[in-house]
Amino acid sequence: MNSSSDNNKKGRFEKEALMHIDSLYNFSLYLTKNSDDAKDLVQETYYKAYKFFHQFQEGTSIKAWLFKILKNTFINLYRKKYREPEIIDYEKVESFIGLMKDNNFDFAHLEEDNLLNKFLSDNVVSALNQLPDDFKTVVLLSDVEGLSYKEIADIVECPIGTVRSRLSRARKMLQKILLNYALKQGIIKGKEK
């Protein structure tokens, strides 16, 4: 009886949790920035998830649950200061957005001229890596993983309103960084309308 419920647990876990391994590995890569640490982090995440699988609430998103475990494991293992929230230089962020207003370009202009294709994928990755961790996280979870604000709020442990404002700011910063790249690489020329 016991062993059959055990097998059942294994089967369910393998079926439901293992399908998200690509997403978890991608996210790990962004957090740790190297594949060895990313592998370790994913291993550890699955170990913890398996151990506490009985605490998982049926009907909620197992993907979000796994991400939350992964994020906490990352903080425990890799961040020097335990659970200390990252200090965000808000002045820097604000000045970023201030600069945005001065710029006559936005993505709509690039699209019109079909210039978006000229960006390299590396540009996008490095632009993303320039964002503070908290901002990078919401972009990845929302735009790459397609999680809802509620799930993200659950994972990063902050109110939904904060997820929303972080996402909005993060996208503005990304636009700015990418436009800077575009200027530097001569994809667009300065001082156009």
Partner: protein, 238 residues
């Protein structure tokens, strides 16, 4: 809805996180406002651009396989990541330092032993003239020929201190390679020391040689030539 309210709602509008009522209001505003509409278009394009360009890497097969195996074996062979990441880094420098210390001690000991060996070997090679013979090698009992001298006077010649403060060298033997040996002041030695007239005489000496202090414990002395004409036949055993 005014522009400010609209722009505040653009992000959740794009992510489809607004309730139906607000969503309709935003759509209505975007239809009539060019500024907000371009604002919306820009962010929408960025989102789709990021989605398109951030290609997902799939997890390595070995990782997938090892996790699958781990699940089937209840994670019984799991390595302790907490130990490896959090505890071990603190001890790694200590282990490294300990290893370095052991190595230094080992090398130092090796070099010291080499140095001592070299000292033993070299001293006899450096200090003794070519024509000596070992009477007993293990006791450093040696027979050699030299000139009897006043060690103090010889040292003075070379600008040294006339009386040796360390070993109290007095009378002795100067071998042909220029090394000064002092005769130990025991019964046999005193007999040589007491005879001033022996200075300058050539003698063949047998005795125990002490290389570190340049002393000779005299056993036999055989005069071969005399510096001073009035020197008589000299015997230690008399």
């Amino acid at each position: 809805m005014n522009c400010m309210q609209c722009q505040e709602n653009i992000t959740p509008y794009i992510d489809n996180e607004l309730d139906e009522k607000t969503k309709k209001e935003v759509t209505a505003h975007l239809d009539i406002c060019e500024k907000c509409s371009s604002f919306y278009k820009s962010e929408y394009l960025l989102k789709s651009f990021v989605q398109k360009r951030l290609s997902k890497i799939s997890a390595p097969d070995d990782l997938k396989e090892s996790i699958r195996k781990s699940i089937r074996s209840d994670f019984s062979f799991k390595q302790n990541l907490f130990f490896r990441k959090k505890i071990l880094p603190y001890f790694r420098p200590i282990i490294a330092y300990a290893a370095a210390a052991v190595l230094v001690v080992f090398i130092a000991t090796y070099l010291m032993s080499k140095l001592w060996q070299q000292k033993d070997v070299d001293l006899s090679k450096i200090l003794l003239p070519d024509d000596f013979t070992y009477v007993s090698e293990s006791e450093n009992k040696i027979a050699l020929t030299g000139t009897i001298v006043c060690v103090c006077c010889e040292m003075k010649k070379y600008g040294g201190h006339p009386a040796c403060k360390k070993f109290g060298h007095t009378y002795g033997l100067k071998t042909d390679n220029g090394v000064l040996w002092t005769i130990m002041k025991n019964d046999k030695g005193m007999k040589v020391i007491d005879h001033n007239e022996l200075i300058g005489a050539r003698a063949k000496i047998t005795g125990w040689f002490f290389f570190n202090s340049n002393y000779i414990d005299l056993e036999e002395l055989e005069l071969t030539s005399f510096a001073q004409s009035d020197t008589k036949v000299f015997s230690l055993n008399k």
